[in-house]
Symmetry: C2
Subunit: 256 residues, 2 copies
């Protein structure tokens, strides 16, 4: 047999057969006078074994190991390992499929969130927030929430979003005040007012994992994110939020 024939027989491509030669899985057979490879039955049998093993999902080097190994002992071992591997893969794919179909349902029913697929908690939170008038600050806030959605681990998420739920009701009061500060300096007189209103509608517990005030200072799990958040705002806005944080913290410590 020539290479095309044995390949068709076993159901692989000639290229694959040559690849197996090159990687030492299948020994090179004798050549005809013209340089063509001439395959016999033994080669076909071996090639068939290789194909059966690869079809099961073994890698080529695992196949090599199984073939080299004298009969059996190693094979069970490898197969068990492979079974675990496949189980893992299947579970992984299934979770992805579930998440995906949930997402598709949501996308086809309502409309999908602008920043891509989000957790259900956040989706419902944003749904409540979505009816507010246009506001640059609100847009930024939504982005930040989307970020938190990824950053915060799953078990924390429900708690955190629950805290936000309360604040969301007062959003229509707070966002305009903050928007008004977009061009203002850090010592603008409206900063104090905005901070007071903001602090009033934030729950005490929120202060726990918030930065203490000065940029770069410890107190949060990652200060770099906080720094970046504040850097993204106008000076007066970031001043107002810093101040609000301090008010919340003082309120919590005072009421303790």
């Amino acid at each position: 047999m020539r290479i095309g024939e044995i390949a068709a027989l076993v159901g692989v491509t000639p290229r694959a057969v040559r690849h197996y030669h090159q990687s030492g899985l299948l020994p090179e057979p004798a050549r005809r006078a013209n340089g063509y490879r001439e395959y016999g039955v033994r080669d076909a049998v071996l090639l068939a074994r290789i194909r059966r093993l690869t079809e099961l999902g073994l890698g080529l080097d695992e196949v090599r190991g199984v073939l080299a190994d004298d009969e059996g002992r190693g094979l069970v071992e490898v197969l068990e390992e492979l079974a675990e591997d496949l189980a893992r893969q299947e579970a992984e794919i299934r979770t992805r499929r579930e998440r995906l179909s949930a997402l598709l349902d949501e996308a086809r029913a309502g409309r999908l969130p602008a920043d891509g697929p989000l957790s259900p908690e956040l989706t419902s939170l944003l749904a409540g927030l979505g009816e507010l008038p246009e506001s640059p600050m609100a847009a930024k806030d939504r982005q930040i929430l989307a970020l938190m959605d990824v950053v915060v681990p799953e078990e924390e998420r429900a708690r955190l979003m629950g805290l936000m739920e309360g604040a969301a009701e007062h959003a229509h009061e707070v966002y305009p005040l903050l928007d008004a500060l977009s061009g203002a300096a850090a010592d603008d007189p409206r900063v104090a007012e905005a901070a007071r209103v903001l602090a009033d509608c934030l729950p005490d517990e929120l202060g726990v994992n918030m930065p203490t005030g000065a940029p770069g200072e410890a107190g949060s799990s990652d200060t770099s994110l906080a720094d970046a958040l504040f850097a993204d705002l106008a000076p007066a806005q970031s001043a107002a939020i810093h101040l609000a944080m301090r008010l919340v913290r003082e309120r919590r410590e005072g009421g303790r």
Copy 2:
């Protein structure tokens, strides 16, 4: 934020972030004076979107497509395609897992076949054949059967193995005769006897997809395999089998 920070925040490696830059998924941010990349909130949000999409199983170019696409329309499309893809993958993995676990059961319970995992039909056939005394011809036959197991399409297999089942009962008569011919010339007198016995225990239907006689002649789906099979035998053996085939064919046509 520096690259390590944003990467840790979103849960990817810095290398992945740089890779996204390189492939145009995530725009390169401004640099600090020392050449370090400086990331802001917008970058983190984008990176989080990218990660969510890739975690769903999208390829990077699909992600790029979704991001480039102005909101939504293309996304549902891509997601649906992906859902199909995942369904296919899961089914594929599940079949492999099933075959594998069947194999593992068999391997742990009895002993696993020497030529690797085989179809259940062939396995049972070989089980019946396995109790014969040692015979070089039998060994070759087993290899050939293993080969047929791969070559023959699934729907044919049961039928073919059924045919063989009848022949297997007479194996203890035939193999010794053929083994005795291993060193003989093609015109050995024992050839005719062996052919007669062999033909007697082969069913009529077997002749249908067998070669007509002369090497290289048409009449089988792949003559090259038949040629190789005969080339693998001693001259007297191949002569005996050729003759047996002719006898079977004549018998079938005579009795028709």
